[in-house]
């Protein structure tokens, strides 16, 4: 359900006295054989066992046969594409791409 909640002009606060809760876990689900695990979202749980149970309830709706991975969010190392400009030398490496090579039609799919 989506609702437009109007701004009543109150100061938006990001500070709060909320105590530390459960850690955050990222959830990866493989819906069925032949597919790969896909990032589905996140949830809070005190440990891996609960995270798995919760992920099953929330992200697979109790589907039989779905494979679930849960990973503490803090364990994930990430690389972001905007860093690519520094990371890769973009020129001169076309031979790494299959389209560089011409294969005669007689050879068939490759």
């Amino acid at each position: 359900m989506t609702y437009d909640v109007p701004d009543t002009g109150e100061e938006f606060l990001t500070e709060s006295d909320a105590a530390e809760g459960y850690p955050l876990w990222e959830v990866f689900v493989r819906q069925r054989r032949g597919l790969s695990h896909v990032h589905s979202g996140s949830l809070h749980a005190p440990d891996a066992e609960t995270a798995l149970q919760a992920a099953r309830d929330v992200y697979t709706r109790r589907q039989e046969g779905a494979s679930i991975w849960v990973v503490p969010s803090t364990s994930i190392s990430a690389f972001e594409p905007e860093a690519a400009l520094d990371f890769y030398e973009a020129s001169g490496k076309e031979y790494r791409h299959a389209t560089y090579y011409q294969i005669p039609d007689e050879v068939g799919q490759m």
Partner: protein, 315 residues
């Protein structure tokens, strides 16, 4: 391709948005965009969670086992939707516990519609038909929101929403074809939920200070007034089919506009409810806070146990 010249991050941000591409969590974004999104997504999530209360009120008294099962499943869906949305908001750097805290202290709002009581079984029908109907009107728009995690959460929510409105309409259809008492029950519920449903779309855009900026950032894609009109046009024929009247003497088809004209909304009621003086604002928050505080010992135990296990494994 040679090394790129330094790009102005704000220009780059806006060009991604203008191209109908998605902003992802690690992209640079204006602070206003981030704050507006946190508030909008969090309040959307809070709406799902608070919304469990009015419907949860009738689970123990559902008139048949089938209706009980459907209602339980619907409310569970709403909890799940809240969860997806909190997760999306967390990618912007706020924790779920912080968002709950802001809700509990009244600093965050939720949709005004949930401050009304569910007095009869027919309210389950009216809520499913009108409130979910209003939500659906908004939903497709939000799947096209510029912020990736929010748009993706909305796609997931849309996929799961399909039965929510239908089951509400089916409840009312059964009542309207039932006994005289059931028909009266249905009409009474519609009388109480119609105007609050129209108010869900928020104030007229001329009153809303944020609409223009939200449109530029593609957080909002259609104006409040346009969404409200779309909802009315869709719903009036559905009411006619049910055989219920809508409590608006000014409701009439306008062939020149090709839309339904409808009466003036009582904005005093709307603002009172938004500011916390509706029929159930205090109780909704008290209920939420009680559940949270009464069970604090459970969460503390889970954290303590988790810590013990980690120490044991490490040893």
């Amino acid at each position: 391709m040679s090394a790129a010249a330094p790009i102005d991050p704000e220009a780059r941000f806006q060009s991604i948005v203008d191209a109908e591409d998605k902003i992802e969590p690690t992209d640079w974004m204006p602070e206003g965009y981030r704050k507006t999104l946190i508030r909008q997504i969090a309040q959307h999530a809070h709406s799902e969670v608070i919304g469990m209360q009015p419907e949860g009120n009738w689970i123990s008294r559902a008139p048949t086992l089938r209706r009980k099962a459907i209602l339980m499943a619907k409310v569970q869906d709403e909890a799940g939707h809240g969860l997806y949305l909190y997760s999306a908001a967390e990618t912007l750097g706020v924790s779920r516990d912080e968002m709950f805290d802001l809700l509990h202290r009244g600093k965050h709002k939720y949709s005004s519609i949930f401050n009304y009581p569910t007095l009869t079984w027919a309210d389950m029908g009216a809520i499913g038909w009108l409130v979910d109907g209003a939500a659906i009107t908004n939903q497709v728009m939000l799947t096209r929101c510029s912020y990736g995690p929010y748009a993706r959460a909305m796609v997931r929510i849309c996929r799961e929403e399909s039965f929510h409105q239908r089951q509400g309409y089916e409840i009312l259809l059964t009542l309207c074809r039932g006994t005289h008492e059931q028909q009266e029950m249905a009409q009474d519920a519609v009388n109480r939920w119609w105007w609050p449903s129209l108010m869900m779309f928020g104030p007229s855009d001329s009153e809303s200070s944020h609409t223009e900026q939200s449109m530029a950032w593609k957080i909002k894609r259609v104006s409040n007034d346009d969404l409200r009109q779309e909802f009315v046009d869709m719903t009036v024929p559905q009411a006619e089919f049910l055989g219920v009247s809508l409590p608006d003497p000014d409701l009439a088809w306008n062939p020149e506009r090709n839309h339904y004209d409808f009466g003036a909304i009582d904005w005093d009621e709307f603002w009172a409810v938004v500011k916390g003086d509706g029929p159930l604002n205090r109780e909704r928050i008290e209920h939420k806070v009680k559940a949270w505080e009464d069970n604090a010992w459970v969460r503390e135990a889970a954290v303590a146990h988790g810590a013990k296990k980690r120490r044991e494994t490490a040893a």
